[in-house]
Structure formats: structure tokens, C-alpha cells
Symmetry: C2
Subunit: 209 residues, 2 copies
DNA sequence: TGGAAAACATTCCAACTGGCATGTAAGTTC
DNA sequence: GAACTTACATGCCAGTTGGAATGTTTTCCA
């Protein structure tokens, strides 16, 4: 704010920056733990260790583990959203558009980060507090991605796009589960190709009508 | 074996019967815990309490928690298989066949028991031992259900049936996740109806060719 | 420049976890 | 009916868990 910023940059200085840095470290570590260890084996102790943060610091920012997890959901969703936005170049026109679109959804909803989402999601089933935190955030992710598709493929009829989008998202989430368990990758690719073929046919049929 | 079986039936008697009874009680309690509490909150203590079985008894039958879980997978799959088989009446002919087929898969792969499967599945992602136990069992369930469909709809070309089956299974698994988190049920039904429509079109197209 | 407050570090604790050791009862075999 | 095996019960332990109390440093503002 003031013009008298000392030039020495060693160490972060302002409180806000200090704060955000450890917050991010904690949230990143949480996501990392979820991916590597799963929800059940993730302890605040481990999170603190990975973040290089003391237990007191964690407590200062997130008084309870539930609060940490709830915040991690937002953090995670933001990262996924950024990932999708970054990967979404030009989708091209109808022939390839479908293929690229499906691939994009695969990247976003079956990528590394999605494992963490699955963990939180399943945990939320029996944890109302966590569920309350996840629901709106997840809805927002779904909607914003759909919005992205609408802007990238303005020519596609809305109903067609919506239907194909949500079908693809759910199909891919199912396939992601299979992938996480180490199912046959080639069979999955083959299945995804079949789906692309079908989706394209649906699109053409809807447009021709 | 011998003819001198005492008539008094109070209490189960033979060792094998005694054994199986507590084993089943433990396995059922495990599944119940997974559904109600989730994997993370499920403790052997709680399982024993629900099964009305002492800790020692549990240890006698399943020396470790991992072993109990691994066995629960088989138990669970058997129950699901039975559920599907019981619900699978006559699927009818091509117009309704697709609809009934999708509904059947929904019942089997998104029903109450499937919540337990999800829990174990997600847990298995970061637990090689559990994964090793689940993989073959789950594959067997998928195959046997597909086999059931083949027998119920002998007229459908194999490739068509296979593709539609696996797409449906994965789609429904994705939708089941959404359902567990308390997503909008009507939107889910609508999406499923769209899929039925599409699947029927695919079928007709494949047959006509 | 001095002191309040925010950020962070250390230490501790009560509760709970899974697993095991030891003890008792029921069933099986000869 | 005695020796033996299997099924179950009880109590304990070492390790972890999440959370809180207390102490120290860093930044901020008047």
C-alpha cells in the first residue's frame, strides 16, 4: 500500500501473505494426503507434517479437522476448474468436437485430483457436515464446466449439449472408479470410443431434426 | 452323521453351524457398518457390538480387520448377485427390454448394498491388500451379470449387448455416486430416460445394419 | 518505539483403535 | 468319559487419533 516498501525480500512479510501461504500449504497437503493415503488414513498429524506446519498453526487456521476438510473441498475444486480451463483449447467443429469434449471431461473428472474428490465424496455420504460443504461446491464445478462447453460449442442445441454433457460426466465418473481400482485400461479406452461414436450420432440426429 | 441325533433343537448345535452363524453375523454387521458409518468410521469394535459377538470370537474367525473386510467383499457380492437374480424376471422384447435392463442394472449397482461396495472400492484404491481381494470378486460380478443378460436377451448381437451393458454399468455407477451425495433425483431419472432412449436407438441401429 | 494482536511452535491428554494373551465353555473323537 | 479340538469371552496394551493449553515469535499500528 505505502510507497516505503523495504527492498529486502527475504521471507514473506505481510501477515496476509504469511497466512495465505501456510493455509495453502495445509490445503495442498490435505489434497495430497487424500490422493496418496485416502480419507481413512489421512490424519491431521500427517497433513501438518507434509505441509511443514506445526499443529498449533493448523489449529490457528482451521480449528477442527472437519473445517480443514470442508475448506479443502473448495481448494480442490478451484484447482480442478483451473486444470480444465487450461486444458480447454479450441474444441474444433462437430466431428472432433465431441471427441475432444469427452477427452476434456475425462481429464477433469478422472484425473489425479479426482481421486481426492472421490474420497471426499464417499466420506461425505456418512458425514452430513462434509456433505453440506461439498454439495454447493460440486454443483458449481459441474455448472461452470457446462458453461464452458456452452461457450466453446455455441452451435450445439442446448438440450443436446446438456444431455450429452451430464451423461458423459457420470459415465466418466463411473469409469474413473474402475480406473482407480486398476481395471483394464484398453477396455476403458475402447468403451470411451464407443461412447464418442454414440454421442456423435446423437448430436447429428438432434441437429438434423 | 450318526443316527443318534438328539431331538432337542434348542440352540444351534454342530460346530460347523455354530461357526457359520457367527461368521455371517460378523459379515452382515460389517456390511451394515459400511453402509451406515462408512469405511473410515467402521471399527471392529462396532462390528462386534452389532453382530452380538465378542472380540475374541471375531479374532477367532478373522484374525485381522483386513481379513474381515476382504471376506466381507465376497459376502457382499454374493448378496448383490442374489438380489439381481431375484429381480430379473422376464425382460420382455426389444422395446421394453432396454428399459427393463437399465432398471435392473440400476437396482443392482445403485441399490443400498452398492453403498458398501463404493466404500470398499474407494478404500481399496490406497490399500493394495483390499484391492487384491476386491478385483477378482468384482470382475466376477460384472461378468456374471452380463452373462445373465445374455441369457435373458439372446436375440441381441453380442457386441451391442456388451457395449450397452458396460456403458450402462459405468454410467449408473457415476449416477449412484451423485445419488449418494443427495443430488437431484428427478434430474437423475430424466438423464436415465434419455439414456434409455439413446440405448434403444443404438440397439435398433446395430440390428438394422 | 512500544505494545497489542496475529501467526506460529510445543507439549500434553483423554479417547479410541486394532491386536493379542489368557481363560472358559461347547462340541468331537476315540 | 477322557483327551482333544474348536468356538467363544474378557481384559489388557501399545500406538494413534483429534483437540486443547500454553509459550514464543513476527507483524502491525498508533
Amino acid at each position: 500500500m505505502t510507497a516505503t516498501q523495504p527492498a529486502r525480500e527475504r521471507r514473506h512479510r505481510t501477515q496476509a501473505e504469511r497466512s495465505e501461504r501456510t493455509r495453502n500449504a495445509l490445503l495442498d497437503a490435505t489434497v495430497e494426503c487424500l490422493i496418496e493415503l485416502g480419507y481413512a488414513r489421512t490424519s491431521v498429524h500427517e497433513i501438518c507434517a507434509r505441509a511443514g506446519v506445526s499443529k498449533g498453526a493448523q489449529q490457528h487456521h482451521f480449528s477442527t479437522k472437519a473445517e480443514l476438510m470442508a475448506t479443502a473441498v473448495e481448494h480442490l475444486t478451484t484447482r480442478i476448474q483451473a486444470e480444465i480451463a487450461a486444458a480447454a483449447g479450441d474444441l474444433g467443429d462437430p466431428p472432433e468436437l465431441v471427441e475432444h469434449g469427452v477427452d476434456l471431461i475425462w481429464q477433469g473428472f478422472a484425473g489425479t485430483l479426482s481421486a481426492a474428490v472421490m474420497e471426499l465424496w464417499v466420506a461425505a455420504r456418512t458425514d452430513p457436515e462434509l456433505a453440506a460443504a461439498i454439495k454447493p461446491v460440486d454443483r458449481a464445478l459441474g455448472r461452470s464446466t457446462l458453461e464452458l462447453f456452452r461457450s466453446l460449442a455455441p452451435g450445439v442445441p442446448q438440450h443436446t449439449l446438456d444431455t450429452l454433457y451430464w451423461l458423459t460426466v457420470n459415465l466418466i465418473r463411473g469409469l474413473a472408479l474402475d480406473a482407480q481400482l486398476g481395471g483394464d485400461a484398453s477396455r476403458r479406452t475402447q468403451l470411451l470410443n464407443e461412447w464418442k461414436r454414440i454421442a456423435l450420432a446423437v448430436y447429428r440426429d438432434d441437429v438434423a431434426r
